[in-house]
């Protein structure tokens, strides 16, 4: 078994359940009940994952938004992200947590560390490459996932959306708001501490809104909660 899990299919429902389960466990733990806008770094604290904001040099391929060091239980976030919006920073942390939950074999990582401490793993064997994210972005929603890396990115981003915008919170935040009005959506996004793209994608995934391709017009989706409730 490897520290990075082999690629597997997760349904949307399964990913959402994982995120909800995490929020529920936090709810039941003193000091950790989630509040909105959700500070994703508190979720990392809950999972005993350290977060460090630091300079991550661009390699030969492209800028690196964040990376996980599984053996150290550490998420490193590129400080450059702070030049973007708060919502983008939240999304990036939540995205990395998605990787941690869905794609890292945590038991294997801990066992590896124990073996290293006992001197059972040496030299190059003792190197586990960090799990890299070149962009914790909305881009993955806009393009088709073409390979396993794309799918992993999609899964992590979907997890992030479910974590930052669970249905019951969205139901609460949409009260008194018109989901077909961009101004209202921007206000909701601010309330939730997410980017407008994150919110738009989430509402479309839920079938609450529908925006035709290349259009700015928002239509209520078939699953949209009644505006009168």
């Amino acid at each position: 078994m490897s520290v990075i899990k082999p690629h597997r299919f997760y349904s949307k429902e399964e990913i959402e359940n994982r995120a909800n389960d995490l929020l529920m466990r936090m709810q039941e733990t003193p000091n950790f009940p989630p509040k909105w806008p959700l500070d994703a770094s508190r979720v990392a604290d809950f999972l005993d994952l350290a977060i460090v904001w630091d300079i991550i040099p661009t390699d030969e391929e492209a800028p690196i938004a964040a990376r996980i060091f599984p053996l150290e239980h550490l998420i490193e976030i590129n400080e450059d992200i702070l030049k973007l919006s708060e919502g983008y920073a939240a999304s990036t942390i939540a995205h990395e947590i998605g990787h941690w939950v869905l794609h890292i074999n945590q038991d294997e990582a801990d066992s590896f560390v124990e073996q290293m401490a006992l001197g059972l793993v040496r030299g190059t064997e003792a190197t586990v490459q960090p799990f890299l994210c070149r962009s914790a972005s909305d881009r993955i929603y806009k393009s088709n996932a073409n390979n396993q890396i794309d799918w992993r990115e999609w899964q992590a981003q979907y997890f992030a959306s479910c974590l930052l915008m669970p249905r019951y919170i969205l139901e609460n935040k949409r009260k008194g708001r018109d989901l077909t009005n961009w101004r209202h959506l921007y206000a909701m996004a601010e309330d939730l501490g997410v980017t407008i793209s994150n919110l738009k994608n989430r509402l479309q995934d839920l079938g609450w809104i529908h925006i035709p391709k290349d259009s700015r017009q928002i239509y209520l989706g078939s699953a949209a909660p009644s505006r009168n409730k």
């Binding site: 003193p30 000091n31 950790f32 604290d45 904001w53």
Partner: protein
Amino acid sequence: MQQSFGQLIRQARKNKGYSQRDLAKLIPVDFTYLSKLENNRAARPSEEFIRSLAPHLDLDEEELIFLAGRIPERDEDFLKKNYQAMPALFRRMQENPDFAQKVFQEATQPEDEEEQN
């Protein structure tokens, strides 16, 4: 295993229910600096910074200063006055754990207890 400065403040912050941003606002300092301190990636913090941090985490300021690898200024004066004896004292403590233990015990004993003895 003994905690490092970074590990100790991270654990204390979590125990208090603060996020890095929450705590950074109280001190105040940039939360990215705090994240580096917690992960032992920042330069040794100043005594002034540690004194502003400790009360928010219910940690002992002096102990935290030592853990960060610093000596409190007021102790520094004492050490300077007695600098010639210090290497021998530290060496003896390192070589003789029983002696070190006795010194630490006496150092942490309340003063009124010392008087009774």
